[in-house]
Structures are given as structure tokens and as C-alpha cells.
Symmetry: C2
Subunit: 243 residues, 2 copies
């Protein structure tokens, strides 16, 4: 953890980078306590506010956690899947909203990833996950449901599908993508007719999953992707000439 000055960046950025490298390289292991802010100030020959800014940068990435009081300090954080997942959601959401990624592109990516999980889910799905999916299908069929609630249920349904793969790395990657797309999905108004269609596809997916029929799950997901993109396309058309 030595002060390796890179380019001419802020001191706080340099220090954050140095500490981050120490963590990534394993020099600082999980739950290890960093030197106190005063000690870091001495080591890096900077003031305490500068050290603090560096530590806040790391805290923002969930790399460290801090605790006040005696025997307190900054500790290397074990990055949980949840932390990683929420960071991914934020990043993906911003990427989608700020870079004007088209709905088609996002949709294609999402279903491509989801289909990658599907074959694994077909092998490994538990009764629990099937129950979750069927419960969400039931919820989706309730007449009084708002569009937002319908979409939220949709997310839960697909998360269950993804979690069925029993691979936390896949779950974390994909769940981020699915959730990040929710705002875009919310912009689509679901008519009673389109909900019916989606529920039918969800049922087809769940049935196939129960039968461990990977191929049918795959084709159903392809159909769902096409249908979703068609819906988005129709909404865009309608907006252009709202006669």
C-alpha cells in the first residue's frame, strides 16, 4: 500500500487508488482494519480531510465500511452479492437512460442473457421457484393491477427464473439487467389483451420448466421477446400519431 502517484490526479483519487489496489491484490484481506485516518495522513503525507475523501470514494464502492469509536476505523468489506447487484442496477440504469440505448437493444440483451440461464434453470429449478413463478402469474392475472405493479411482478417472475439456474454469478449479472430495464418497461402500457398474452407465455415457460423441457422454455422466451418488442413498437407508433 505505497503511494504510487499516477499522472496528475487529485491526491484523494491517488490515495483511493493505492488502497484499492492493496485490496484487490489481496494485500489487505477481508475484515482487515485500515490504519486510522491520522496514521494514513502521516503515511501519505496529506491532511486528514484528503484521506477522508479518499476513504469516502472507497465507501461509495462498498469496498470498505467504517465504524466510529474506540477500536473503530475503516475495514475492508466483504463485497456481498447484494451490494454488487445494487451497484450493477445503478450502473445499468444510468447507462440505459443516459446513453439513449434503444429499447430493442436493451431488450435483445436482456432476453439473450435470460435464455442463457433458462437451460440451466430447466435442469435445476426447485419446487419453491416454480411456486414463486405461479404465484406471480396469479398476481398478474388480477384485473385491478396497475401497470407498475404488473411490471414489478414481471421482474419477480423473471428473477425467479434466473435464480433457478442456481448460479449466483449469473443471478447477479442478469438480475441487474432485468431490473435496470424496468423503467423502460413501465413506459409500455399493458392493455388487458397484451397482459393475457404475456401471462400465457409465462405459463408456458413455467410449465416447460416444471417438465424440465429446456427447448420449450427457450422458444417461449424467444416468443416473449418478440412480443415485448412488438408492444414497444406499437406504443411508439401510437405516440407518433395519437389519432
Amino acid at each position: 500500500m505505497k503511494a504510487a502517484p499516477r499522472k496528475t490526479a487529485d491526491l484523494s483519487a491517488q490515495i483511493a487508488h493505492a488502497i484499492r489496489d492493496a485490496i484487490v491484490s489481496g494485500e489487505l484481506i477481508v475484515d482487515a482494519r485500515l490504519p486510522s485516518e491520522a496514521e494514513l495522513s502521516d503515511q501519505f503525507k496529506v491532511s486528514r480531510p484528503t484521506v477522508r475523501e479518499a476513504l469516502k470514494r472507497l465507501a461509495a464502492q462498498s469496498l470498505i465500511r467504517t465504524q466510529r469509536g474506540a477500536s473503530g476505523g475503516a475495514f475492508v468489506n466483504r463485497l456481498s452479492f447484494e451490494d454488487a447487484y445494487s451497484q450493477q442496477v445503478t450502473t445499468s440504469t444510468l447507462l440505459l437512460s443516459m446513453n439513449a440505448v434503444s429499447f430493442d437493444t436493451a431488450c435483445e440483451a436482456r432476453y439473450a442473457l435470460e435464455r442463457a440461464c433458462a437451460s440451466l434453470s430447466a435442469q435445476r429449478r426447485t419446487a419453491d421457484q416454480l411456486a414463486t413463478m405461479r404465484a406471480e402469474i396469479f398476481r398478474q392475472s388480477q384485473p385491478g393491477l396497475t401497470d407498475e405493479a404488473f411490471c414489478a411482478s414481471d421482474v419477480t417472475f423473471h428473477r425467479a427464473l434466473v435464480d433457478g439456474a442456481e448460479n449466483p454469478v449469473l443471478s447477479y449479472q442478469l438480475a441487474g439487467a432485468v431490473e435496470a430495464m424496468q423503467p423502460l418497461m413501465n413506459m409500455i402500457t399493458f392493455t388487458a389483451r397484451s397482459r393475457e398474452e404475456i401471462i400465457a407465455l409465462h405459463t408456458r415457460i413455467t410449465d416447460a420448466l416444471e417438465a424440465r423441457d429446456a427447448e420449450t422454455v427457450d422458444t417461449a422466451l424467444v416468443d416473449l421477446e418478440h412480443y415485448t418488442r412488438q408492444l414497444a413498437h406499437d406504443v411508439a407508433e401510437q405516440k407518433r400519431k395519437p389519432a
Copy 2:
């Protein structure tokens, strides 16, 4: 962008959250200039160092950039695919190293995602990408290559395969996963025999891609996954009894 106090967290965390919400909600658009640190201090009724800590948190996530001098300040950053990608690499790397994700799990996730891209790549691959892949295959066949260089070339090869899908969302997601696995891959010693096998599979993939034969690409990737996992398994065996 009002001061909405959440729980009993640090002030800097609260402020960072408030500003982040303003960005995500679109209240602050790309390239918009935030109020100066002094003005933010007044608005949130905190001191400048506290505001600065909040801003550093946001800077760590590439949500803002700062510029010194007159007409300088903090600006909402357009999150580039590159920024998102490097964040994803960091997060994925830490997740893999700190959570003791098994090689099998990581490998399975990686190839599942990669196969998701493959069918799209088969449709859209350009001559350029094919050329890159063949160049890397050639590099991999050079006898003097170190294991690290072999792995690096492997990453480049697979990135080209993923980029062939012409879907930046997929590229950003998957490239992170592939790169994060490199340290794990580096731990595998590639004998001349195993390199030969891998090169043969890479060639099979590239040929199939050139012929736009999605199915063969898929099966070749399945074979490559199995072979990679077998190699890792053998290495683990060898370590247990290095007779």
C-alpha cells in the same frame, strides 16, 4: 434535489444519495452543472468538507466529474460504456476473489453468457472481427508465449466474439465477466498439449462464425467450457498430490 434525510447515516452519504437521486430521476441531466460546493453547503446546511465527501462518493461512481477554475465545478457525467465496463470488472473481480466463488461456477456463468452472444454474433459478425479472432489464434500458436500472454490473447479473442453480437449492452455485461475471470484463468498452467486443443476449438468457433453456423459455434463453446473445467480440475488434482 432536496435534503431527504434517510435513517441515521452519515451526512455525506445522505447528500450523495440525494444528488444521486436527482441524477437518476433526470432532475439533473447530463452535463448539467451542480451548484458550487459553497452553495451546496448552504442548501444542505452542512460544511464544505462534508459536501466534498459527498461529491467524492459520486465521483467514485463516475456519476460526476469536477473541473477547477472559473466556470468550473461539478458536472453530471455521461456514463460511458467504458466507465461502466471498468466498474463492472472491478466489482466482478472482487466478488470472485472475496466470496470464494468456485471456478466451476464462474466458468459456467461465463460460458452461459458467452453462448448467449454467440447466436447473435453468428448473424452479425464482420470481417474485421473474424480477422481479429484469427490473428489471436495465430498469436496463441506461437511457442514462446507465456501463460499470462496466452490468457490475455484468450480474453481478446473472446471479446471479439462477444463484440460480434453488435449489442453494446451485451458487450459491457459480458466483457466484465470474461475479464474478471482472467486471474482465475491465469492460475491454470497451459501445457503445449492443452493449448493445441484450445486453439483447435477456437479455430472451430471462428470457422463456424464465418459460415454463420450458430449451432456449431454453440457446441464448440460447450466443448470449450467442458475442456476448461477439466483443465482446472486436473490442476487442482495435481496440486493435491504433486508426485
